[in-house]
């Protein structure tokens, strides 16, 4: 068991967050593009994107 009392668990969290944000950004970006395009094609309101993201959920 490492000496957890002497380290800031935040340092590991920070590093992981940077890595995850990088990895998640790519599918997130494309999902958004697809959702926007879909809405444009359908003539919908792009501000309603959030609901569409929900429907096109593919990463779980």
């Amino acid at each position: 068991m490492p000496l957890l009392a002497y380290i800031d668990p935040g340092s590991g969290s920070m590093l992981l967050q940077v890595i995850l944000a990088g990895a998640l950004a790519v599918p997130f970006f494309f999902r958004r593009v697809i959702a926007d395009t879909w809405h444009k094609v359908r003539g919908g309101d792009p501000s309603k994107r959030a609901e569409v993201r929900e429907e096109t959920d593919s990463d779980r």
Partner: protein, 391 residues
């Protein structure tokens, strides 16, 4: 210049008193606020569950000082806290046991991720969100602990994430939290439909409770042992703002789902086992107040509860009375005699050592702490409801 005018809340509740959906809604609100803060060039500098309160059937943020101006490319400093305060307990409640929510009583700053990772079933590693924000996260913390200590005076390494990455992370957390589900299956949630009352007794009980609530004429009530809130609703209809306590997470969950949003914002269901209520916790035991030190209502209701405390938990009746007298200046208390089928069920598997458990015994025991204002015998039942006033 904008002025923020705080509005005092009736009651401060803590995450270990919340049901699954209450904690989940608080988590989703925190993420929504962080997302809106980003849009405004700000961020939440912390993501403590204690910064959220439940008010009028919905979660609200009470710590306006959590907002600070920040560049969009800076990592979210509250990421770890969000995972420990919200994601870890919610994942444990959904995937292990809903009573894991009570662990927040021991871990005032959230459940350590390496502990949550060890307690969660292995299949949660197949859930992308939990695998990254919980299991990988716990591993990252462990690896950081194994690094050699930094050289004194060496500059802090600045880390950046893209604006899209920032939102992608929040989006992933939101999906992970939204994907956690729990459905109550306990026997208490069906209790209201499985009581031993006849229709006449139910009507009579309701009438007596309504009369007594009107006689008290207060504005706040605690319904203790509220179950899914039949009598809490009665108090709310009589104009009271009600906190509906129950020890069963399933009942509180069902009750919250029923009152949240529009239909019953005057009622706040919360978890409390009266035989072991929330203690004072934290630094010098002063960070979070105990159940008894967070104000008192005008009246408390204890309907079909005393037999559980006296016979189920072996608490002598004078002890029950003393606790009630600490809780509220007035109490509406139902006495359920030994002959009642529900009490007989409690006595079925044990020797009857409760010689003072009788109507007269109740009067004598509660008479020490309270003045008996009124007695209402329930028709077609051996039960009696007392209206009591603290001495």
């Amino acid at each position: 210049m904008a002025v923020l005018q705080p509005r005092p809340l009736d009651f401060i509740s803590y995450p270990y008193e919340w049901s699954f959906s209450q904690l989940k809604e608080a988590a989703l609100l925190t993420l929504e606020l962080q997302s809106r803060a980003l849009d405004a060039g700000m961020r939440l500098k912390d993501a403590s569950a204690y910064n959220i309160q439940l008010d009028a059937g919905r979660p609200i943020l009470i710590d306006t000082l959590s907002f600070e101006a920040a560049a969009e490319t800076e990592p979210w400093p509250a990421y770890r806290q969000f995972c420990e305060h919200f994601l870890a307990p919610l994942a444990l409640m959904a995937h292990r046991d809903v009573r894991c929510g009570l662990m927040l009583r021991d871990f005032i700053d959230g459940i350590p991720l390496h502990l949550a990772a060890r307690l969660l079933p292995g299949r949660t590693r197949l859930n992308l969100g939990l695998a990254s924000h919980l299991h990988l996260h716990a591993g990252a913390q462990r690896r950081a602990a194994n690094q050699p200590p930094p050289v004194l005076g060496s500059p802090l390494r600045e880390r950046r994430i893209s604006a899209t990455g920032q939102r992608a992370l929040l989006d992933s957390l939101r999906r992970t939290v939204a994907g956690l589900k729990w459905k109550p299956t306990s026997h208490w949630t069906e209790y209201a439909s499985t009581t031993s009352y006849s229709d006449a007794a139910t009507a009579s009980k309701g009438e007596i409770v309504r009369e007594m609530l009107a006689a008290v004429g207060g504005s706040t009530a605690w319904d203790v042992g509220a179950n899914t809130g039949v009598y809490s609703a009665m108090a709310a209809d009589a104009g009271y703002r009600v906190i509906a306590w129950d020890q069963d997470a399933g009942s509180v969950e069902a009750h919250w789902l029923q009152v949240r949003g529009g239909s019953g914002p005057r009622i706040l269901p919360l978890i409390c086992d009266l035989a072991n209520p929330s203690p004072a916790i934290g630094w010098a035991l002063e960070e979070r107040a105990s159940f008894l030190d967070r104000g008192e209502p005008d009246v408390m209701l204890a309907l079909a509860l005393v037999h559980h405390l006296a016979i189920g938990n072996n608490v002598p009746l004078p002890g029950v009375a003393r606790l009630f007298a600490r809780m509220a200046p007035r109490a509406i208390v139902e006495f359920v005699p030994k002959e009642d089928p529900m009490t007989r069920r409690l006595l079925a598997a044990r020797r009857d050592i409760f010689e003072h458990y009788s109507l007269d015994g109740f009067r004598a025991a509660f008479g020490e702490s309270f003045r008996i204002v009124r007695e209402g015998p329930i028709a077609d039942s051996g039960r009696t409801i007392f209206l009591l006033e603290r001495r």
